[in-house]
Assembly symmetry: C2
DNA sequence: CATATTGTGGACTAAACAGTCCAATCACGA
DNA sequence: TCGTGATTGGACTGTTTAGTCCACAATATG
């Protein structure tokens, strides 16, 4: 697993939807974490449909009743896995997502995304995007969870672009929201092509295009550095 | 059979070339088609992992042995479904794909893609792209089949852009191959966002950006019509 | 018309699966 | 220390699954 699933799970925030039980004791919390962790790994490895509760049981040493004690049913667990996966994806990029209010920051972000795919030899695609293809039409609750995750991701870019506009780095008629969406599309599509073709260059090409498109909304005022590439 | 041991060895040997049997009689061909058709529908409806051979059996009235008579095993059937799905996707667009050598033709294509998503209320995403998320990491044969399908699709655009370049509609330093890839990424990403958010505007935004990016490679020679949008 | 090839029906196996249930064990507050 | 609720173990059910096997029917071909 390359997106390294070892981040803390924000159980409090998302499970306020009170679908699955929040453990009262430390031991219970640890067990729930262990189950979620293993389930997330298994979903990443074998796909959402390929993860079985017996797999989770085997990997965690938990018993059947524990799964149903902490989660409503299989679908509930999968939905929680989506949240965990989203958290991981965003946490991994956290440092980069803070600086999307400059061309240099955006370039660093794009470069890191490509670098990661090079390391993984193009395998895996986007953890969130892959889940979309697997679950969007099958489970509307899962679809909503994926949409929420994607939004949290996109928001970082939209906010960064909005700051750039406020700072005069983008034209007055630039639309940070639309620009963010178009960029996310290039990222997701580039990752999909990279995954299918096992070639990180696909993402590089998509992101170069995304960058060029963003540049079209750049303020034409002089002495903006970072233009050349 | 008497020489069962021989058969074992031979079937291993031949299984490379003999993936699925091509029927000799008309009736057999019809049965195979029926199975393939139903399987493709079921994969579209319930996902690749969600399609069971019993589903296919129920929908076609075929018997178990027929499935294994015409297809090696479940994976073989799924791979054939990928091919069928690709054919459908390309056939549906066939008329539009022929005219990707003009800005107007590209616009018509983009408009049709958006229109389709509006009709479907954003459901379904890209039939090929969805399969990618489901199968790319699970079955390398399927991954290859999806890559081949995507290539066939992208080739139409690449060829169109190459013709535009030859006609002087694109700059001499334009790279039709990279432009086609970046455009495909926007399509796939835009479709994914549309699917997850149930909003066809997501694809529109992605395609507007893709168009703007293509335009950056437009020849700067005057009296090119179709500039305004 | 004979017969070899191709196509079809369906019983059968063995495994994997989600989900239920109850009794045993643990941990924490009174 | 006691008791109550949280936690855990694991047997059990019933269903669904992919895949095998063999006998029978249809069809082509000489």
């Amino acid at each position: 697993m390359v997106w390294s699933l070892d981040c803390q799970v924000q159980s409090d925030y998302f499970s306020l939807m009170r679908e699955s039980k929040v453990p009262a004791t430390g031991r219970g919390r640890a067990t729930r974490e262990r189950i979620l962790q293993a389930a997330a790994e298994l979903v990443a490895e074998k796909g959402a449909a390929g993860m079985s509760l017996d797999d989770v049981r085997a990997r965690t040493g938990a018993s059947r009743s524990q799964l149903y004690h902490y989660f409503e049913d299989r679908d509930d667990l999968v939905r929680k896995v989506i949240d965990v996966t989203t958290n991981v994806v965003i946490d991994v990029q956290a440092g980069l997502l803070k600086h999307l209010d400059s061309w240099a920051g955006i370039d660093r972000w794009f470069d890191a995304l490509v670098e990661l795919q090079v390391d993984r030899q193009g395998c895996g695609g986007c953890p969130i995007g892959s889940l979309a293809g697997q679950l969007a039409e099958r489970d509307s609750g899962a679809r909503a969870a994926i949409a929420a995750g994607l939004d949290r991701w996109e928001t970082h870019l939209r906010d960064g672009l909005a700051r750039m506009k406020a700072l005069g780095k983008l034209r007055h008629d630039a639309d940070p929201s639309a620009l963010a969406t178009a960029t996310m599309a290039s990222i997701q599509g580039g990752l999909l092509l990279t995954q299918v073709r096992r070639d990180a260059c696909q993402l590089r090409i998509a992101l170069d295009a995304a960058r060029a498109n963003l540049r079209l909304s750049a303020s034409s005022r002089p002495n903006q550095k970072g233009d050349a590439r």
